[in-house]
């Protein structure tokens, strides 16, 4: 299982600060997005305008996920 960390409104919508996904072999960030949409349908709208970070770097949809990667949903930021 792959853990995906959730923050801010994404965490509130999911009701948890992380979600575990069963990803296929050689999964990509696109698979992470699809897995999140299936596991938490209510997240879809915010997820569509969120970035996905892999090991603290913003990753595009074709980035491959490796075992042990740290994955997080990054909703639009509002610091400052």
């Amino acid at each position: 299982m792959t853990v995906v960390y959730l923050f801010a409104a994404a965490r509130d919508i999911a009701g948890a600060d992380r979600v575990e996904l069963a990803l296929p072999a050689n999964a990509t960030v696109a698979d992470v997005r699809a897995g999140l949409n299936a596991a938490i349908p209510a997240l879809a709208s915010l997820l569509a305008r969120s970035a996905i970070a892999v090991n603290c770097d913003i990753a595009d949809d074709n980035r491959t996920i490796s075992l042990g990667d740290e994955i997080a949903v990054i909703p639009p930021v509002s610091g400052g």
Partner: protein
């Protein structure tokens, strides 16, 4: 120097930390909690961060500033947790040889912090309702 903290930001110490004999200008920016946005009243804000990535991105902002201006010192601190009206949420101090450089570098730093650092705030209203602020424009990576 960059950091995240849950404590009140000592902006006097932060400003002192960037002073430099080669620099004739020091600029300090403070972001503070505003009570009104349009006609919406804020009682307090709750800030949270994805800390390891936020620290990495803050360090990237510092590196970008150093690359573009002849900076003596640059210090960026963002506070997390519950902040009330008038509390300081972020402080940025920059020193440069000349004031145009230091104003520009400080302005750039706060704009980048707001664009690329994974920190979020939840706006809390007097009636007890609250909303996470997730701006609709696409944020830069």
């Amino acid at each position: 120097m960059i950091s995240l903290t849950t404590d009140a930001i000592d902006y006097t110490a932060l400003t002192e930390s960037v002073r430099d004999p080669h620099c004739g200008a020091v600029t300090l920016f403070l972001g503070t909690v505003r009570d009104l946005t349009g006609d919406v009243v804020t009682t307090h804000l709750d800030y949270e961060a994805y800390a390891p990535m936020a620290e990495k991105q803050l360090a990237a902002v510092e590196a970008e500033v150093r690359q573009q201006w002849p900076v003596g010192g640059v210090a960026i601190v963002h506070r997390l947790g519950r902040l009330h009206v008038n509390d300081i949420s972020v402080a940025i101090a920059v020193s440069c040889p000349h004031r145009d450089q230091s104003f520009a570098a400080c302005r750039y730093a706060i704009d980048r912090v707001k664009a690329i650092v994974p920190i979020w705030k939840k706006d809390n209203a007097p009636d007890g309702t609250s909303d996470w602020i997730h701006p609709t424009e696409t944020h830069a990576s």
